[in-house]
Structures are given as C-alpha cells and as structure tokens.
C-alpha cells in the first residue's frame, strides 16, 4: 500500500483524440445554445477528459465559428485549462498571502520536494499533478490545499504526506479501471 503501486488507469496519452471526439461533440451540443458558451464547453470537456485535447480546439472552432487561434487564446489565458493530460488527482497548494502568513511557503517547498515535481508537472505514474492556486477562500484556516472537490485547512507537512499517501493508495478490492 504505497505510492509505488502501478497506476490502475490507462495512460491518457495513448488515448487518441478521435476517441474523445464523441464526448467533445456532446459537450458542444449541450452548451452551444447558451449565450457565451465557450467557457461552459471547455469546463465540461476538461471535467470529462481531464484536459483540453487538440481535437477539441478544432471542433469548437468549427462549431462556434471561431478561429483556432481564438479558441486557443481562451484556453491558454485561463490557468485552469490544461492542453495536456494531467494526473488522476490535481493537488493544489495555496500560494496566497493568508497562507504565507502561516507557513504556506514552507508547505509549497515541502510539496514540491515530497512529490519531486514543480508546478504543473505530473508524477511519472500519472497519479498526481501539482498546481499552485491563489486563494481557496479558506483563509481563516490557512494554509490550505485542494484535491478535487475536497479542501483541507491548517495543513502542515505531515498532513500533506498523509494526504499523498491516501491519494496514491489504491484499495485492492475497489480497483477501478476508468
């Protein structure tokens, strides 16, 4: 039960863009009637596929009558959107002032060392992507860390290690092949 367990999910890098196409199409279908549909479409695609594949940029530009450059410009503007596959878990460490006031800088450093990753890098086993975040609104319980929908407060180095241990421990009976 350690972080050296093989990754249970197939590598996303091998998934061909074409395989994503039907998903991309349906997310466009679901949102294109909305005024200003681009961000909702991108969110849905990233939530589903984990990132914004190149095929999505082409498809969106065709369907919304935008240039590829315009769509790419939007995707690259926002820190949230990624154009390459990311880990199964996105671990976000708050880098803003309130967390700095309670040891946030040490925690950032520790997180990078513990995972051997810099910001926006993904562990080799595809488990974890480390990202900075500027404020989770948890400033009364600094320092804060987010994983998916879960937000953690008063996180020290040990808590962080425990979290990583939990995230990289795959329950044998519940092994899922997503």
């Amino acid at each position: 039960m350690s972080s050296s367990l093989p990754n249970a999910t197939p590598s996303k890098a091998v998934a061909v863009d074409a395989a994503h196409l039907s998903a991309i199409t349906s997310h466009i279908d679901n949102n294109e009637q909305k005024p200003g549909p681009l961000l909702p479409i991108l969110h849905d695609i990233q939530n589903d596929i984990g990132y914004i594949p190149d095929a999505a940029i082409s498809e969106i530009s065709k369907r919304l009558n935008l240039s590829r450059a315009e769509v790419h410009g939007v995707v690259s503007f926002y820190h949230h959107f990624s154009t390459k596959p990311r880990g199964r878990h996105i671990v976000e460490v708050c880098c803003a002032e309130s967390c700095q006031a309670l040891g946030g800088r040490d925690l950032q450093k520790h997180a990078k060392e513990k995972l051997g990753l810099d910001w926006y890098q993904t562990s080799k086993d595809g488990e974890i992507t480390l990202e900075p975040v500027y404020c989770l609104g948890n400033c009364a319980c600094s320092p804060a860390v987010r994983v998916g929908k879960q937000i953690l407060g008063r996180v020290d180095n040990e808590d962080f290690d425990e979290l990583i241990e939990e995230l990289t421990t795959v329950p044998v009976t519940l092994m899922e092949g997503r």
């Binding site: 200003g36 961000l39 503007f77 820190h79 309130s98 500027y134 404020c135 989770l136 948890n138």
Partner: protein, 513 residues
C-alpha cells in the same frame, strides 16, 4: 414532521476543510447505533467562528448550544455526556451559541442567517424573513426600488465602493431590449471569504437580491460568475437555484408578478483579473479575460453590449435586507459616507480568524486583538495587509485607523472587500513586496504595458535590492516603477499592485537592506 432533537453540523468549505464531514458521518453512525429516531442532523452553514469549526450545535429550550472544535473521535463522549439534551459538561462545551462573545458583539445584517439555517431549505429561509424584500419589491415601481437602495447608502462591497443605487439608476434609465444582472462572485483576494460564506450559508439571500435587482432595472437574466476555486459554493448555489425555480421564485412569472427572472451560475477558470468587472464580462462572453477601457461603462454597454448591473455577492445579498427592513434601518449603522455594516474577514496569522460583521468604524486594532485574539502562534504581530493582494501593508503605528472607506483612503490604504491578513514578526516584507509583483506577473491580463512588463521588472528590481546590488539606485528605480504602474495602468490590477510594495518600502524599509 419536526423531530425532537436537531443537531447542526456545518457544510461550508472551511468547516469541511477542518473535518466536518467526518464528524457528520460519526454522528450518523452513533445515532443509528443508538436506535434513536428522534434526532435529525441538519447541515447548516457556518457562523464564521472558524477556530471553533467544526462547531456542532443542538437545540435546547433556551436556544442553541454549541460544542467545538469537534473531531469525529469526540462524538461518542459528547453523546455520552448528554450533548443531545444540551448538557454542558463536556470540555468542548461552548454554552449558548448566541452568547459566545465573538458573535454577540457583532451586528449581523447581511450574515443574519449564516450558520443558523440549512442553506438549501426554502422553508428555513422563509421562516427567517426570507423573500420579504422581494415581495415588497414586487409591490413597488422600479424607480421606488432604486430609490430605496440609493437612500440606504449602500456602496459596492466588492471593493470599489461605488454607490449601488446610482449604478442601478443608470441601468434603469438605459433603453434596451435585454438587460442583465451579473453577480461578481470571483472573490479572488487572499484573506477574503465573505462571499463564499454567504453563498454557502445563505444562497437564497443572494438569489433574492439578484431578483430584486432584475425587477428594479428591468433585467430578466442574471448570471453568477463564480470562481472555479469554490466547488462547494457551486453545488449549493445550483441546488438553491433549482429549488427557487420549482417554487416560482425564479422563472417566467416570479411569484405571480408577471415578471420573469432567470438565473444561472457560470464558472470562472482561475484568473484573478476576472474579478475586475469588464474582464469578468469578457470572460462571461467566452473570451480571454481582458480588461475593457471605460467608457463605455458596463451599466450602459455591459454583457453582450447590453446595459448590465455588475454587483458583488454581498452588495446584492444586502439589497434583500434593505428592501425587507427599509433603507432607514440599514443606514442607521455605520459612519460618515460608509453606511451600514461591513463583513470583515480576519485571516492569516490570527488566533481567532473568522467573519466579523460590524458597522463601519471599528478600528483595525479592535479587529486584530479584541476579535482576532492576537497571533495564532503567539509571536508578536508586525504587519497587516488589508483589502486583498492589492491593498497596503499597515505597520502597528496605523492600527488605530477606523475601518471605513474614507479613513482608510486618508492613510493611502484600502478597505477593499474587507479582508485583513495578519503577519507575525518573522515576516520578510521585502519578500512580501516581491510576491505582490510576482502575483501581478502571473495574473496580469497583458493588455497594458505598465502592468504586463512593469510587474516583471518589479520582481527583478526587488531581487537585486534583496541581493544588495546597487541598493540605493534600485530602490529609487523601484519607486519610479511603482509610480508608472499606478499612473499608467488601465485597471486596478496594475494600478494597485504597487500599493503593497510602496507601503512595504515606506514602513518596513529595514527589510530591504
């Protein structure tokens, strides 16, 4: 239907971040094991007393009593020592919630319901005077609604403090086939969490305020532009909007008034600049969050080029109170031109961090010590950043300042969205100054040069100063750079990034040697 006992366990992000979900599960298991059917668990919002979270409450004939901070492992002993009967024998007992001094001293108007009700219970909302403001607004002419908001003196709580009623007047007066109400819920300032708490603890308050705004200016569509970093707020808002739709508080015919108002949450995607209203509108339209030059102002040409009210979460939520209780009630609080109450947010290195809603005019020192209890780690406090990452750092000599818009401005400081981040004496203010510039490098939209390039040069110059390279010359250069950014930037991002830097240089110059 009403069960004998009610146990309240918060579900807002910060309480969850301190383990509230585990506590809720532990209670559920304990109650199942005890075979007791007369206890219901209510998932409320938080009261904002965050050092006590997860704070669990129980109803008693005398009022609600509290226990905290509760861990899952405390649940067994709490129940064994009579917590469900409201007994106060446990070491975690806090007595009557309303009598906790931190809460008792406050003047909760915008946050009157926070932590008291189940945020997604319409019944709870109605039972606590919810929707009385909207019902009154339906009886009023649009101009009368706008007059009431003007009369209250409410100024935008997002940070810019522009009078809300005047903004509404402009939109009301504009001719257009479609107008919009946009709620700025992109609360990006570090040290602030009031919008988040409001949305997670009392979402109907915001929905009601936006609906009133729609009736006032003749807008039928509202958007809540919510930051992606708030997943719990997103869930709760979506749930509350669906309930409001099912019960005709939103939709084609709001409460039979014959008027329509639709509401939708739109997610941001991690861009601090989208808290700036014109960048926010660009983002809502599906574009890069680039700042628009003003004029035209959004009130005349806003979302999709149509007249648009852009207001902060707290401003809109407060409108519901103003319409319910009247402008006179609201403006009785506060001082000078800062009327009503301000939800201050105590954050960073403070023992008792949390939400403090008080009339304008409380001093910073009172917030830091009477409420905040001094530093979290026992070291002396040295520096306080007020008003978010673009706000100045205040040294101890300035902590007697009264927290209102004008008094802060007189010091060259900003009240902003009401965030207060405290640092102890281990803080390196040159490092903090560097961070301000670095943050601007990361978050600048890139439209104007002083902000885009100035911030990068700022980081470099501060690095040179910290390395002891031509210190005097480089400090002078930094000061000039700050002036250029302040005077030459299009919006507050580049225009205010120098504020923390200049204040660090002025009040903490020893850290730059």
């Amino acid at each position: 239907m009403s069960a004998h006992n009610k146990v309240y366990i918060p579900r807002d992000s910060s309480s969850l971040s301190m383990g509230a979900e585990k506590v809720a599960v532990a209670f559920q298991l304990a109650l199942q094991a005890s075979d007791s059917n007369d206890t219901t668990i209510i998932r409320n919002g938080s009261r904002g007393l965050y050092w006590l979270e997860p704070m669990v409450e129980v109803d008693t004939p005398e009022g609600r009593v509290a226990y905290g901070p509760v861990k899952a492992r405390d649940v067994e002993s709490l129940i064994a020592q009579g917590m469900l009967e409201g007994k106060q024998d446990h070491p975690l007992s806090l007595g009557l919630t309303e009598e906790i001094p931190y809460l008792k001293k406050q003047q909760r108007l915008t946050f009157a319901r926070a932590g008291i009700i189940d945020p997604v219970s319409l019944d709870d909302y109605l039972a606590t005077d919810g929707y009385t403001g909207l019902k009154r607004a339906i009886e009023l002419a649009p101009q009368a609604i706008v007059d009431e908001v003007k009369e209250s003196g409410l100024r935008g709580r997002g940070g810019a403090a522009f009078p809300t009623g005047i903004k509404w007047q402009t939109v009301l007066g504009a001719e257009a086939s479609q107008k919009y109400i946009v709620c700025n819920a992109d609360e990006g300032d570090s040290g602030t969490f009031a919008d988040r708490l409001q949305m997670e603890a009392d979402p109907f308050g915001l929905i009601e305020g936006m609906t009133i705004a729609g009736l006032a200016v003749g807008a039928t569509q509202g958007y809540i532009y919510l930051r992606e970093e708030y997943p719990h707020a997103h869930e709760i808002l979506d749930e509350a909007i669906a309930i409001a739709e099912q019960n005709n508080y939103l939709g084609d015919n709001v409460l039979g008034s014959g008027k329509a108002f639709y509401l939708e949450v739109r997610l941001g995607a991690k861009a601090y600049i989208c808290g700036e209203e014109t960048a926010l509108l660009e983002s809502l339209e599906g574009k890069r969050g680039m700042v628009r030059p003003k004029p035209p102002i959004p009130a005349l040409e806003g979302l999709f080029g149509q007249p648009t009210v852009v207001n902060n979460v707290l401003s809109l939520s407060t409108v519901a109170i103003i319409l319910a209780k009247g402008a006179d009630f609201y403006k009785d609080f506060g001082m000078g031109r800062s009327l009503g109450t301000m939800p201050f947010q105590l954050a960073g290195n403070l023992k008792y961090a949390g939400l403090v809603e008080m009339a304008f005019g409380i001093t910073l020192k009172e917030l830091l010590y009477d409420f905040g209890g001094g530093s979290f780690n026992g070291k002396p406090l040295r520096s306080v950043q007020a008003g978010g990452p673009l706000g100045t750092y205040l040294p101890e000599s300035q902590w007697d300042v009264k927290m209102d818009y004008e008094e802060m401005a007189a010091l060259g400081a900003v009240l902003g969205h009401g965030g207060v981040v405290a640092f102890d004496d281990s803080v390196d203010m040159a490092e903090q100054a560097r961070f301000s510039m670095e943050f601007c490098v990361v978050e600048s939209c890139g439209k104007c040069t002083p902000c885009r390039i100035g911030s990068t040069r700022g980081v470099e110059v501060i690095d040179k100063i910290r390395a002891g390279e031509d210190r005097e010359d480089n400090i002078e250069l930094l000061e000039e750079l700050c002036e250029t950014m302040v005077d030459g930037s299009l919006c507050a991002m580049g225009g205010m990034t120098p504020f923390p830097v200049q204040s660090a240089l002025k009040h903490f110059s020893e850290d730059f040697s």
